[in-house]
């Protein structure tokens, strides 16, 4: 029940009558505003995606010639405010209150909406992480200001756009400084450039691990402006009773050297057993999965690689029965070596894998395990027993 976007029909009348004189397009010169990043933390621990967004924001302000402003809502987070400056923020708006220690939709929304309304002009761009916090908060802010929001962008840029669709004549014209929010488009090997230049802030979220943070520079200077939160009774309709933080078990997907990943081609949840055995052949390995099999409940969401899962860049990625849809590809294409096993020789994964085996996962993977184990035992140093570990 979300958007169903199709490319806007571009002036079909003009296509019918090529002789028609091109009209002079109005230019919508809007003042170039700042780029805002909404900082995210879990009980005071700044999340890495915020630093990545600051890196992206700096790249955007270089084109706009404006400032990076960050918003930090929390409690006793002065050091974090300073850290945001060291990582690229020029101004940090900081709301500090004990009641704001833990993220909650309505109070955080209130602080940010009030701040945005108090600024002399809205920021040009507003960025959040595609996290459980960013995806909770960003749509509320966008809906409040009736502005555009693009989820899970893989690239951001600033550039011109000429709107030729005559459906709404007031929108016709050239927009010189649009946010290009680029994301893979559904089920297609296409990237879509999504724009919303009619209204600022132009909003977008990006997944953790997609944008590159700047190096910490303790000499960077910036301004910290304290803002006074003004809450309303109705902002407290939801209370947080507690926050549970799990100690992660096993190798984290994003930190593994080797990822063995499974898709719909496995046929059933049982298929992951053999993948675990294969992963057991490697040091520092983890199990990944495509979206489809996570949707089917074959494996928990924590294993999902791709646009709506994790972005990984291991040294070796073995894709078993994964077709390689664009959503998966954007999450793993930066892996140093990609080996793909798939029955279908036309599977898109073979277009970007480095080594492709056309065959049945259940024949190829056991053979891999056999040969890898053989290699391991022949490589073993004398005196070391050839014990093969499997997870």
């Amino acid at each position: 029940m979300t958007d169903e976007q199709k490319p806007a029909p571009q002036q079909p009348e003009a296509a019918k009558s090529p002789a028609a004189e091109p009209e002079v397009m109005p230019v919508h010169e809007t003042p170039r505003g700042n780029v805002m990043v909404i900082a995210e933390h879990i009980m005071g621990d700044l999340q890495p995606v915020t630093l990545e967004l600051l890196g992206a924001a700096r790249m955007l302000v270089e084109k706009l010639g404006t400032k990076v402003i960050a918003v930090l809502v929390g409690y006793k987070m002065e050091e974090t405010a300073q850290k945001l400056i060291h990582h690229g923020a020029d101004v940090v708006y900081y709301a500090d209150a004990e009641s704001l220690q833990v993220y909650r939709t309505l109070p955080y929304r209130r602080v940010i909406v009030d701040l945005l309304e108090s600024l002399p002009e809205p920021p040009h761009v507003c960025l959040l992480g595609s996290t459980t916090t960013g995806r909770d908060l960003a749509p509320r802010i966008a809906a409040h200001f009736e502005t555009g929001l693009t989820a899970d962008c893989t690239e951001l840029d600033i550039g011109p756009y000429e709107h030729k669709n005559k459906m709404d004549p007031s929108k016709l014209g050239l927009y010189p400084d649009c946010l290009y929010a680029i994301r893979p488009s559904f089920g297609e090997s296409l990237k879509a450039r999504i724009l919303g230049p009619w209204k600022n802030p132009q909003m977008a979220t990006t997944r953790p691990g997609v944008m590159a943070p700047l190096k910490m520079d303790a000499k960077r200077e910036g301004e910290i402006i304290r803002i006074e939160p003004k809450m309303q009774e109705r902002d407290w309709r939801l209370q947080v009773r507690d926050v549970v933080r799990e100690v992660s078990k096993g190798v984290k997907l994003t930190e593994a050297d080797v990822i063995v990943s499974g898709g719909y081609g496995l046929g059933s949840a049982d298929g992951f057993k053999i993948l675990e055995e294969l992963a057991g052949c490697f040091e520092n390995s983890a199990i990944g999965a495509s979206r489809k099999v996570v949707d089917l409940g074959w494996i928990p969401y924590a294993h999902q690689v791709g646009q709506t899962g994790k972005t990984v860049r291991p040294k070796l990625y073995i894709a078993c029965g994964i077709s390689g849809a664009i959503q998966h590809r954007v999450g793993m294409s930066k892996s140093a070596t990609i080996i793909a096993i798939n029955k279908d020789p036309d599977a898109p994964i073979f277009k970007f894998a480095h080594f492709g085996i056309v065959g049945d996962v259940y024949q190829v993977v056991p053979e891999m395990i056999r040969q890898f184990k053989k290699t391991m035992s022949s490589d073993k140093k004398p005196g070391v027993e050839a014990v093969v570990h499997s997870h």
Binding site: M1, P7, A143, N165, F186, V243, V244, L316, A325, V384
Partner: protein, 277 residues
């Protein structure tokens, strides 16, 4: 005081990504030909709604927006046990982005009447944005619980567990509230014989079916057409480009025994470096 509750659940029909029907050679999708299905994430929302009714009493209203074939998923929801359905269907909704979709759906919800809880899927498989739920909550001025994994209602308050990065939050919310249900919630139970039988019967009596599945358009719900469809969407897809092939020179092994193909890959790749010693 607790229950019964007026429970709303929002569902969407999406193209079936597992099926090759309607996939054009260039990789684009022909939505008219593609196989259609209930958005997989919505199955969890449906389960949450039906569970709430079963545990606390009440009535479940299933709401969808889409072209007329979307009635298929509403029939499916009826088989699972929802009490009534409302389909918002209007050509003027074409090319709606999330903001315009949320506007139209919130008007539909208001048209449907009072509610205590609105359940939505976490996101759809075709849009992947997870935005419409919170955008509806904003328009209806509701507290929201996104990424909800489990919940109970006590003293007319929603006690819920929601996922956060590396853990979870336990929250207590006043009603009415909007909940987006994560796919780690309980899977949708099988349809009952009674449900299937009931729907089969209804399909033989279109008049009765029309009482249970109401189709509405923008005029009926009193929506402002300028805030719907392409006109009401602040974002547009300005351009699409084919994603270039990254490697483009995949070394393919095909038509040989698994043994020899694996041997070749082991020989020519750097796999060996990562094996356990």
């Amino acid at each position: 005081m607790a229950g019964p509750y007026d429970i709303f659940v929002l569902v969407k029909q999406v193209p079936d990504q597992g099926s090759k029907a309607g996939i054009n050679p260039d990789g684009t999708i022909d939505r008219a030909k593609a196989k259609r299905m209930l958005n997989p994430f919505d199955r969890y929302a449906l389960q949450a709604a039906l569970h709430t009714k079963k545990a606390y009493g009440g009535r479940v209203t299933c709401i969808s927006m889409g072209p007329p074939p979307a009635v298929e998923i509403l029939l499916e929801a009826l088989e699972h046990g929802v009490d009534r359905c409302v389909l918002l269907s209007d050509r003027r909704l074409a090319a709606s982005d999330t903001l315009a979709t949320a506007y139209a759906l919130h008007k539909t919800i208001q048209w449907c009447g009072r509610f205590d809880l609105i359940f939505c899927g976490l996101q759809t498989t075709d849009g992947d944005t997870a935005q419409v739920g919170p955008q509806i909550a904003e328009r209806l001025d509701l507290p929201q619980v996104t990424y909800c994994e489990d919940f109970a209602i006590k003293d007319d308050k929603l006690e819920a567990r929601r996922i956060i990065e590396g853990g979870c939050q336990h929250v207590i919310s006043q009603l009415p509230a909007l909940v987006t249900v994560a796919n780690s919630y309980h899977p949708l139970e099988y349809k009952s014989f009674r449900g299937t039988w009931k729907v089969q019967n209804l399909q033989r009596h279109p008049d009765e079916l029309a009482q249970i599945i109401t189709t509405v358009d923008l005029d009926k719900i009193g929506a402002d057409c300028d805030r719907c469809g392409l006109k009401g969407s602040p974002t547009i897809v300005a351009a699409t480009e084919k994603v270039g092939d990254i490697g483009g020179n995949c070394k393919m092994y095909e038509g040989h025994s698994p043994e020899s193909m694996v041997t070749e890959v082991l020989k020519s790749s750097d796999v060996k470096e990562f094996l356990r010693v």
